[in-house]
Subunit: 336 residues, 2 copies
């Protein structure tokens, strides 16, 4: 077992200096195309593999991007992470991914590990709590960092933030429920005190207030189970509720299951709208109306934003909101 060839081996084989090989690797216009071709040939001949660790040591640009996600098991985040990673990949960057399970200690640990590894930039969907430690370390290291999907660090701290327009999405959906003739609309899911919850609930409340309808909010960690349980709670304790705005699709899909179980006709007796528009919405029964966040496109935008910051030094604005669309399906539409 012999060691991996280096640019010096390539240089020897091609009959040039290591500097020239280096220039070829960087696609420099300085080298003559004959030379370039010869160097390339030599590389192929001896099976040369570029050593980024060494390059990084010298020039500190590893082409590594850190991606930290608080709940990777949620399909919404999975879709986001996948789209960011694939977009970065096409631009020659490699993604270091970590799931934190919303644990601030875990988050602090993975962030510091990423900094040690010399990531050039980070994208983080943070856990609530523990933000000081996490963002402090990132800023001390001077690494460009984009906070996405959830806003925990005050933008004033200098961490730009980007997310779908949750509030507007909720407004669209609740107005739609009103148009479909809903008399009493509940909001299910979301943990109080979190930006993501606040934005949605405030959109919901503002529409209800405008028409003088009394609000009803059932909080809870977003999951299918919560949705399933909510059906029972609503029918037992709030029988006048005839429409529900869900914090996310998992809750909406859970409610569909709950309705099926208790014999309630979702879409007719109880209108339901989810949020996120994950793939499954179109394949459930009844198909679940939802607020589409275009998360794949959002992920690609995030990838582009962070790379522009990195490569062209274009610092993103403090807060960006991406467009959302209401997708109406059977779960909230009158059957004609």
């Amino acid at each position: 077992m012999k060691r991996r060839p280096t640019i010096i081996d390539v240089a020897r084989t091609a009959g040039v200096s290591k500097s020239t090989v280096s220039l070829v690797l960087q696609n420099s216009p300085l080298v003559k195309s004959d030379t370039r071709a010869e160097v390339r040939r030599a590389m192929a001949e001896i099976g040369y593999v570029y050593n980024r660790a060494a390059a990084n040591l010298r020039s500190s640009n590893a082409g590594l991007i850190g991606l930290v996600i608080n709940d990777l098991r949620n399909p919404f985040f999975t879709e986001f992470a996948t789209s960011v990673q694939m977009a970065l990949s096409t631009r020659g960057y490699v993604t270091v991914l970590a799931n934190t399970d919303d644990d601030p200690d875990m988050q602090a640990q993975v962030v510091s590990a990423m900094i040690e590894h010399g990531v050039s930039a980070m994208v983080i969907s943070p856990s609530y709590d523990g933000e000081a430690e996490t963002f402090g370390a990132i800023q001390r290291a001077g690494i460009p960092c984009l906070q996405v999907l959830r806003n925990v660090a005050p933008a004033a701290a200098g961490i730009p933030f980007a997310a779908p327009d949750y509030r507007h999405g909720t407004v669209l959906a609740v107005e739609h429920l009103l148009e479909e003739g809903a008399r009493r609309i509940a909001f299910v899911g979301g943990i109080e005190g979190r930006s993501v919850t606040f934005e949605r609930v405030s959109g919901y409340l503002s529409v209800l207030e405008a028409v003088g309808m009394e609000p009803l909010v059932l909080s809870g960690r977003a999951s299918r189970k919560l949705g399933k349980d909510a059906v029972g709670i609503l029918t037992a304790q709030h029988p006048t509720v005839d429409a529900v705005m869900c914090f996310n699709d998992l809750i909406g899909l859970g409610m569909l299951a709950g309705c099926a179980q208790t014999g309630i006709q979702a879409g007719e007796t109880l209108k339901i709208v989810g949020f996120d528009d994950i793939d499954e919405c179109g394949d459930s029964f009844p198909a679940l109306s939802s607020v589409r966040c275009n998360i794949a496109a959002f992920g690609e935008d995030i990838a582009a934003t962070i790379l522009n910051w990195l490569e062209k030094n274009e610092v993103p604005v403090a807060e960006t909101r991406s467009q959302v669309d209401l997708i109406v399906r059977e779960s909230s539409r009158r059957i004609l």
Copy 2:
């Protein structure tokens, strides 16, 4: 903006040599505990951050593990990737993740990028096709690599393989359906010619052959949609089918939606068993029976296996099969 402190700065602050600082970083028992404490204090004082790229250059052990997944959007793979990443993280390793969307070119690209970045080992759930290029590059680089979940490279090529015991899981499930009184059992999903399909179908066929039941296989790319569509096909063309073994849970869940839509009573008129036992199975209506692969535990095992290979040079056996369990729920059980 000043540069990041190095061990030389730490050494100067602590009044020792850089070699001593290096030893402290490696937790060497050689240094006196007073010295160690002083060095640690100095690090904290000047805000030292370890530079792994430099360490890697010298000792070629980056603590980077590559994880390549063919379909990260499928919750089964997400769960696997998450559990591997978190297990590696607790042992001080950082995970480079890439999704390939089953595209061999994408796979070749991300694998070579990972090799450039000096990953110490790789775990790969490969795409079908393109295996020669991918595994060839990994082997040339001399990087320990574990093939998981799907077997595309012949084990003879020296790439160890680990997966749940798909065949046995199918056998358990189909036998269960027979016990529940099924008269005609179909198999839905899976693409022909793939190891994952072959193993399941062969398990299914072997049980059916033993009892003299005629098989019926509906192939197709595993998705909710396929499951939903399959309900229509079965009722229209194969009305005698009263039980279905699904390639995976997505298909099973899609069938539940299809049943709800066409008014078929899943679990009673049509018994359904899925495969993988993703979280959602317990929250669907009716709850979906499934073959549990214990994928989180499997992921942790994989992480342990690859680290043992790396750190203790324990080369894994050519093929490992992990235990699977049948979880019976309402979708296949007689309602009592």
